[in-house]
Every structure is written in C-alpha cells, then in structure tokens.
Symmetry: C2
Subunit: 429 residues, 2 copies
C-alpha cells in the first residue's frame, strides 16, 4: 500500500471493464471523497492495446502482460471483469497469493472455486469482493452479508437470467417459437451468438450456487444444482399455462429445511399470476428471499450489462478501500454537500388531477378553462359527468406545471361562482 | 470494550425491543459466529420491569433507570427502539458523548437530528447505525451506503407507509370511505389509535428526509419535505383514476438535478397502472431508486412490524461488532457449515405439468391415469382438447410428489402405445 491511494489493476476491458475504467478515471474527486482514499487505475490487462474503447486511458495503463498486474508490488487490488473459468481463476489465485485484494464480477469462478479462494484469502489476510458476480446491479451480496445477518434464510427464488426471461416473454406475448424468440433476443443484444449458457440454465445455476452458498452458509457447488433449460417449451404451453392461471419463467430455487438439508434447482416453472416474480419482465432480474425474522424481501434491477455491473464492481472497490483504510468508518458513508439547495414546492413541476362540482349550464367549462389558460396550465384530459339535475362533476388532468401555478389555479377555480367546490386535487406521476 | 464480547444496552422493550432481545438471548451461538464476538444483552431500559413480555429475560437485565445504560462503562453499544423525539434524542446524544456506539430504529430522531448525531459520533470516534429507521426490514441504508456508492442517485420514489397503503387499497377495492378504511386498518393492527402520523404523511416525510439525505449526500430536514396526507381523497377519485389508467398511492418522491437542486415531497399521487410501485399492496413497502450507473433498482419488503424491524436492528449490531473487532473482515461474512447436505433432485418434491399427445379413442385416459396412480402421483387438474382426427392433446397438473416419481411417470407414459409423445414436462410452483 502506497500513501493514501488504492492502486488498482484491472483484468478485462470489455463492456464492463470499460465502464469501470470510465468511472474510476472520470469521477476521481467523488470517488476519493467516498472511499477516503484516491482510487488509482494503474494497469489494465487487455488482449489488444490498440483497440478503440470509446474512453481515454492514460498512456502506460494498458498492457497485455498479466505479470504487469499480478507480480507488481504497487498494485493493491486486482479487479477482474474478464469472465470465464480459466485463466481468470489462476489470475485471481496468483493475485491473492501475492497479498492483493480481489474484486471480481466472475460468476463461473465464484460458483466453482469461491470457497477455495475465500479460504486462501483468509490465509493471506486479504479480502475478496464479488457483488457483481450475481445479478449485475442488484444489491444481493451486501443484503446477505449485512442486512439479513440476523436471519436464518429459508428460501431463495430468483428470475436471474435476463436472456431467457426476455425469450419467454416474447414466446408468451407474441406466440413466437423458441428459435424465433432467441433470434430476436440476439438482434436486441440480449443473447449471445451461442445462447447455450443462458438457454440451458447454466448461467442461472452458477448464480444460484453463489446465492445458496452465502444465504444458507453452506457450500453449494454448481454441479449440485439440478439444471434444466427452456429448450423443451413450446408456444402452446403458454396458452395452457394462462388458462390454468400461471406464467412460465426460468426459476432458480433454493431452500433449506430445519435439518440442514438444501435443495437447489434451476428449471422452467409455472408461476401463479400475481406471484412477485411473475411480473418480472424482459431483461430485468429479481430475487425473492425469505428470512425467519425479516419475512419476504424482493430485490429487483438490471441483472446484466456494462453499467449496472460496473456499478457493483466500483461499489465493491469503494467498500474495500474503506475497509482497508480504517480511518473511514460507517458514519463517513454520509457525506453532506452544503451547496445543495432543497427546492420549495412552488417551483416543483408536476402534472395534476382536479375534480370539481360545477353548475350544469352553458359557459361553465369555458370559465374554468380560462383560469387554467391564464395560469399557463395546459389541460391534458377532461371528463364531465352529470351528477344531478343542477350540478355536474368535472375532472381534468393537466400537463406538467409549477406547483404554485397548479395551486393558484385550484384556488381561483374554487372561487368561481359556477363552481361548488374543488373536491379533489392530486398530483399525477 | 471488555474481552471478546459486545455489551449491549437496549432502550425500549415494546414490539421491536422484545424481538431484538429474543434474538440476542436465544440465538447466541449463531450470532457469535457471525459477529466474531459474543453479543451480550446487559441492560434493557423499560417503563415497567414487571410487565409480561412473552420472553424470559435474565434477572438484573431490566431497569427503569436510564443511567444504568447511559452512564455504565460496561456498555459498548446503546440500541434504541423506543421511538419518538424526546427523550430518545437526549439518550442517544448522552450515549455518544460517553463513547458508546449507537444502533437506532428511530426515524423521527434520525430525520430531525441525524446529521448532528453523526457529526458528534465522528468527534467521539464512535459509530451510528440506523438501517431500521427507514422501511423496517427493507435493506435500504446498506444499499445506499455500499452498493450504490459508485452512483449519482437521481431519483427516489417510495411507497413507504404501510398504513396508508392498506387504507388506500381498501378504498380502491371495497369502495370504503377514508373513515371506514382507517377503522378497518386499526382493527387489523395496521393503524394506531391516533392515525394522524400515518394518514397525514408525517411518517413518510421522516423516512423520505433520511433517504434523501443519504441518497443525495445533502441535509434534507423533514421540515423541508413538502407534505400532504390522504385526508382529501374520496371513493369517487379511485373510479376516475382507474378510468384514466391510474392507481392512487401515497408517494414519497425525491429527485436531485444536475445543478445540485433537490425536490422532496410526500403527497397522494396518481401512478400509471404498470408502474413498479403501483403493484405494492397492503402493508408492504417498496423503494424505487435510480442511479446514473446502475439504472433502476427496486427494493420491497415489510416496512414495519416487530420482526422485520428487529431483523434490521440485529443486522446492524452484528455489522457494528464486526467493524469494531477488526479481526473479522469481509470474507468472514461467509461461514460454510460442513454438516449441510445438498439434496438430490430425486428427493425434491414439487407439483408438475404434463402435456402429451394421445390417441383419441376410449380407454386412453384410463391407461395414463393408472400410471400416475401406480407412481403415487396425484392429479390436480386435467384438460383434454382435440387436436386432429386421430390424436388429442392431454394436459395434467399434479399435486406435490417426489421428482423421481414425476420423472418415472413421464418416462412410463411416453412408452404407452396410446401416447405419441410427452411434449412438455414443467414443474409448478
């Protein structure tokens, strides 16, 4: 460790790595304030230093030589976002053996070799962070690691593979068959050229193995996760499922019983309409956890993609920096910017809904609408209904306007002689 | 700090406090393993030591004297779950000034005085944890504090008051008026005898002030949160809202723009059907956060109640213990129990869905159903449809059975001469 900085070696500069580097290089002040130390990107291991990546990397950072990171005593933490089993696993082991901390987004390595790496890290007195290895930007590991620590976790249910969820959604809603839906997912950038890892349930099984290991406090190897993909599902199954009251999802399911027995499985499943996971659409991911004290918790977000994954990776780096540089404790997580101004409600703009009782005679709506016009509030929709012989109910929704103008409008309308009362005034999101 | 234990003084033994004490007293081994030190409940401040609380508290723990905790050098951390502004605020200040760490579930104190307490804690070199002060069991503070650290938070939207959400749900679905719905909520235990704090939006405003302060890194005092309750809403508004494509919710909304301006407001709002917060029903709470890197994140859980709140409080205590006793680092969060056994899929029980093509002649269904019966798999529902002149489609869902029996059934049916193929076999949740 050199002075007050954390020196970072990054392995991989693809979609995720580029976003990680971009944030480290272009938000230095913010990150320094939050981490308590400077976060310095020293070296980044790539296959081709000349490839265009859309960000400016300082000269001398890119390298094709693993030793420039792994055997470099200046590097404090190795951040691995290359993915795949080897050489990533060997790199991480080598980094740990050299006394470096590790942050990784690698689900394959963490699912297959996580416990061994964590044990080795314990011996070497370094730390391993891997929030991004499960569910991209969803705050999962920290939830298990901190928030649910007081609980015995009973069940984990997850829609954790965005590709299959997108594909199943297209099959359900457009009646496509699997081949057509996968083709569409590939075009939309949600599926790889070879979709086996996703369609066959392998990706979900890796993620479930990690979640079950942490949630239940027991080693669950991906080979111990029962796995079926979505290959066998035909369009007609969606019709029967709907008829019976179900949606079809690829579900990752794990449970622990009172005798310390664990079941862990990934397969397509019929989920009842109204189940919290049935509403998870497209590339979104969601994890439903049941703890004995907290009850049910649902976490939802973008499970993959460069930016959400980079969010978790950089969050881990900051967390690690704080944990190393002990001067920064919990309370330092709360920086208060004195330059920020809280707006008055008068300035805040929103849409609004007015409901009023008006006299049922000619010219009334014109009078009301004139007030809206004079206050610069534009009407989006209007409904008028008779309520009795002499009065009618008039409902208006508006386009966005400053709240002061909306409230002036409300007061002025209430004072009109043709208006009995503004019965209701609600904002619209 | 005495030897390898964290000595806890608990303020308040109501619904939450009882659950906190119960977990501390009755899960000592588990908590010790997770915290790295013993968590010892030394004293608990109550109004009446003789009240029945449904748990056994060791002799000498209960006290009515605040000094027995606050001026007791043996106490390392004061855990406050009494609620309200005073005397809770003074107790916490006194604890911090005596060099004690603080864990609190108090939204009023944290919203009004949080920044001052955090600053004082900084001077005294102690920590303040308050996960339970916002949204009961929802992992919120840790999400802001760790997972979203790499982000600029742009928006926070929350359905964060279970009482009003329950009341609005009853008004929307049963056509009750506000008074009737509040009465029902009181009977169901979801509303206080005096419901003003919830119905008037005060509770939500406190929680939003805390979330906005942390999320945006700026002081947002509850007095700066614009606040309207649900008092003005009438049953007819739900009908118009539905007609226009909206649901009605009490929304806590905060946003920060690029110029460092913050808006923060609590009021009823029309939310479009399909909005992630529109589906939050009854006493559930949900918080929707947008970060510039992670995109949208949705966190959902039980926002109030003794057990979910105790889950967050005890989680904070463990987290604090780890942070004090530095020998326990991140990797220690992962304890692997060697005695746990992962079940084979054969033993796992689930319901199943079979779809097969069968010959369209008498006796076919009897043959198929006999196989189910012989394998001990009980049929829950069956649909048969003609698909052409000579064959028909037959769909069966079953009651729970061992997966081995389900798969044997599938194989035996596929071999029947009256069955063309089992086209689909899916599990049912």
């Amino acid at each position: 460790m050199q002075d007050a900085a954390l020196h970072i070696g990054l392995i991989g500069m693809g979609t995720v790595g580029t976003q990680v580097a971009d944030r480290l290089l272009n938000r230095r002040d913010t990150l320094r304030r939050r981490a308590g130390v400077e976060l310095l990107l020293k070296r980044a291991l790539v296959r081709d230093v000349d490839r265009q990546r859309g960000i400016e990397v300082p000269a001398g950072v890119l390298t094709t030589d693993p030793s420039a990171l792994l055997d470099n005593p200046e590097i404090d933490v190795v951040v691995e976002v290359a993915g795949g089993d080897e050489p990533a696993r060997s790199y991480l082991e080598r980094a740990i053996r050299s006394g470096k901390h590790v942050v990784t987004a690698n689900k394959v390595v963490m699912a297959k070799h996580g416990p061994e790496l964590l044990e080795l890290a314990g011996e070497m007195n370094v730390d391993v962070y891997f929030e991004a290895a499960v569910g991209g930007g969803i705050p999962l590991i920290s939830t298990f690691k901190v928030d649910l620590l007081a609980n015995e976790i009973q069940r984990i249910m997850a829609v954790i593979n965005g590709t299959t969820n997108y594909v199943l959604g297209r099959m359900a809603n457009q009646g496509l068959d699997l081949r057509e839906a996968v083709l569409e997912a590939q075009t939309a950038g949600y599926a790889e050229a070879d979709p086996t890892e996703d369609v066959g349930g392998f990706d979900a099984a890796y993620k479930l193995a990690i979640m079950a290991s942490i949630g239940f406090g027991a080693r669950v190897h991906p080979d111990q996760v029962y796995r079926e993909g979505i290959e066998g599902i035909e369009p007609v199954d969606f019709r029967y499922a709907r008829e019976l009251g179900y949606d079809v999802k690829l579900l990752a399911y794990a449970a622990r019983d009172g005798e310390g027995q664990i079941e862990a499985r990934v397969h397509p499943v019929l989920l009842p309409h109204g189940h919290p996971l049935a509403a998870v659409e497209g590339p979104a991911n969601a994890v439903y956890i049941e703890g004995d004290l907290v009850g049910p918790v649902l976490l939802q977000g973008l499970g993959a993609g460069g930016r959400p994954t980079a969010s978790s990776v950089v969050g881990d780096i900051i967390d690690l920096a704080r944990s190393i540089h002990r001067q920064v404790q919990n309370r330092a997580a709360f920086e208060f910017d004195p330059d920020v101004r809280v707006m008055s409600m008068d300035e805040v703009r929103s849409r609004a809904y007015f409901r009023c009782h008006v006299a049922d005679r000619p010219g009334v709506l014109a009078k009301i609408c004139t007030v809206f016009g004079e206050e610069g509030v534009s009407i989006a929709s209007a409904i008028q209904k008779e309520s009795d012989d002499v009065s009618a109910e008039f409902v208006v929704t508006t386009h966005p306007a400053a709240d002061a103008a909306l409230r002036r409008t409300r007061a002025r309308i209430a004072r009109l002689d043709v208006v009995d009362a503004v019965d209701s005034f609600l904002r619209v999101l």
